[in-house]
Symmetry: C2
Subunit: 97 residues, 2 copies
Amino acid sequence: MLILKTLARGADLHGFQIADSIQEVSEDVLHVEEGSLYPALQRMLIKGWISGEWGKTEENRRARYYRLTKDGRKQLEQELERYGRVAQAIARILQPA
Amino acid sequence: MLILKTLARGADLHGFQIADSIQEVSEDVLHVEEGSLYPALQRMLIKGWISGEWGKTEENRRARYYRLTKDGRKQLEQELERYGRVAQAIARILQPA
DNA sequence: CTGATCACATAGACAGACTATGTCAAAAAA
DNA sequence: TTTTTTGACATAGTCTGTCTATGTGATCAG
């Protein structure tokens, strides 16, 4: 969900940029290790939630730039909806009562 | 965390009651299967976060009643603190921006 | 040209949830 | 009375996904 949401901001990003963004926006609370990142991207490619194109970074290194597909956008909606419900449910249980 | 929090309300509960409570308070959003519940309770017993005493239910069936230990209370505090930080971090990433 | 770094990738260990069973005793049904 | 159902606990095995560790090229810096 976080990767999809990161790509949903519009810019095509490569793996490192996605991981960096998540870490940065979360103010260092969340880290995405490479061993989690790349398998996750592969799974999402196979599911058709993202597409990836090889390109070059500003520093002239090869990198795969990912972008959300229509299915990916739909998937993100579903995951957001589900996460919202679960977070609310947890909040109810954690209520001081 | 949810099990610990459920026991933190004060009443000694057996496994079924804990699972039922989580499901009920979450308004059926969260389910705890037995295959998750009992191993989790075992782990927490070993860690010393909860203690369990055999007793009888109102219907005269044998059941193990669990209660939070001092360590369990401390553990709950830590998990609540951590969950709060993570939930906040996720919220930042999900912000419409 | 040699080492560090960027970016991608995979193998293997590990944790925890789930499905599927199994047990035992009390309650309910036959 | 015998059988079946139900409550409660428990474990084995599967599966998913994260992590650590490692490896691969290619580019940049010294």
